[in-house]
């Protein structure tokens, strides 16, 4: 609501505006998990192969055995991997040297080394 202060303001505010510490200058001791949902879509390439093959063969699956198999394998592997990482995350196992940590692991680390004053 910047409009209201502007209505009440009288005259020009003097720049630079003096800094007021309203909230403590401290980072949160945890990370939110909202941004963790990756938008990497799995098996898109295999799916496109399947579609191409089906279109060529008038949607006869018997002609597209190899592509369909690779697509299904991709999906099952993806699911397996997802399950394993989920299990690991739930257990809270920290692997050193990881590039991107999920939020649970990060929070565990932050709790291990809290920011104390």
């Amino acid at each position: 609501m910047r409009i209201l202060p502007a209505l009440w303001a009288r005259g020009n505010p003097k720049e630079p505006v003096p800094f007021q510490e309203i909230l403590p200058l401290k980072l949160r001791p945890f990370v939110s998990g909202k941004g963790d949902k990756t938008s990497n879509v799995c098996c898109l390439y295999e799916m496109s192969l399947v579609f191409g093959c089906l279109k060529e063969n008038e949607f006869k699956e018997s002609a597209c055995g190899r592509e369909i198999k690779s697509f299904q394998e991709c999906f099952t592997n993806y699911n397996k991997q997802k399950y394993i990482t989920k299990e690991r995350e739930a257990k809270g196992i920290l692997t050193p040297g990881e590039k991107r940590l999920p939020y649970r692991q990060l929070n565990k680390l932050l709790r291990m080394y809290p920011n104390e004053k």
Partner: protein, 227 residues
């Protein structure tokens, strides 16, 4: 933290399904193992010595249709369950048995009409084999899910798990069996549908192919998936 001891049956569960814990909606605690009721599996376990260990593990009670009969078939039991309405298992099982009888009669009629020995050998007379083949032929590879982007709901093609694919296959076959005239019996119509599906023709297979065509038409929306 309580870690489940990895028992024989639960290892099998892990390799198959990645979604649900062993408990689900069961009345049993999660460490109860599923019963092993097949004669062959029991003799194998006794020979390997696993049976001694499993004998002391709390086991769930076997369901009424988990029999040690040589004709026990998990897929047929599943089909009976999908067909069942309001818990009327007796009727569902009767219908499936009559369907298998009808399949045998239709196939035997074909068999007796053929004169050539080679062609006779090709006719499948085992009703269970036909049902298995029909279900495999009607399994879809992908499914469409509705995803909302910018106020518009798109039908997006998405990969499908084996379990769901099998369920859809059986559901379509049963629906095709239900699309019948008033005077035709369900088991007769269902038998004809199953035989057609085993030959890759018929209504259920058409439904699957229509789904695939729709997926192919919507392939551009595949990027909308969040996975």
């Amino acid at each position: 933290m309580f870690t489940r001891p990895l028992l024989l049956s639960s290892k099998l569960e892990l390799t198959r399904c990645f979604k649900f814990p062993q408990n689900g909606m069961s009345q049993y605690p999660s460490y109860y193992i599923k019963p092993i009721y097949s004669n062959d599996k029991q003799t194998d376990l006794i020979k390997s010595g696993e049976a001694q260990k499993l004998a002391h593990v709390p086991t769930r009670a076997a369901l009424n249709d988990q029999t040690s009969s040589i004709y026990h078939d998990d897929l047929i039991c599943l089909l009976v369950n999908y067909l069942m309405k309001d818990g009327n298992k007796l009727l569902a099982r009767d219908l499936v048995e009559k369907t298998m009888e009808k399949i045998k009669r239709v196939q035997l009629e074909k068999y007796h009409k053929l004169a050539n020995e080679e062609e006779k050998e090709k006719v499948v007379l085992n009703p269970r084999a036909i049902i298995h083949q029909a279900i495999t032929n009607v399994k879809p590879i992908l499914q469409l899910t509705p995803i909302k982007r910018g106020g518009v709901t798109y039908q997006v093609p998405v990969p499908i798990t084996d379990r769901r694919s099998q369920f859809l296959s059986m559901k379509w076959l049963i629906e095709a069996g239900n699309e019948k005239e008033r005077t035709v019996r369900f088991y007769d119509q269902f038998a004809y549908e199953l035989i057609d599906a085993a030959n890759n023709t018929g209504r259920a297979v058409k439904k699957k192919q229509d789904l695939h065509k729709q997926c192919e038409m919507n392939r551009a929306y595949a990027h909308y998936r969040w996975s």
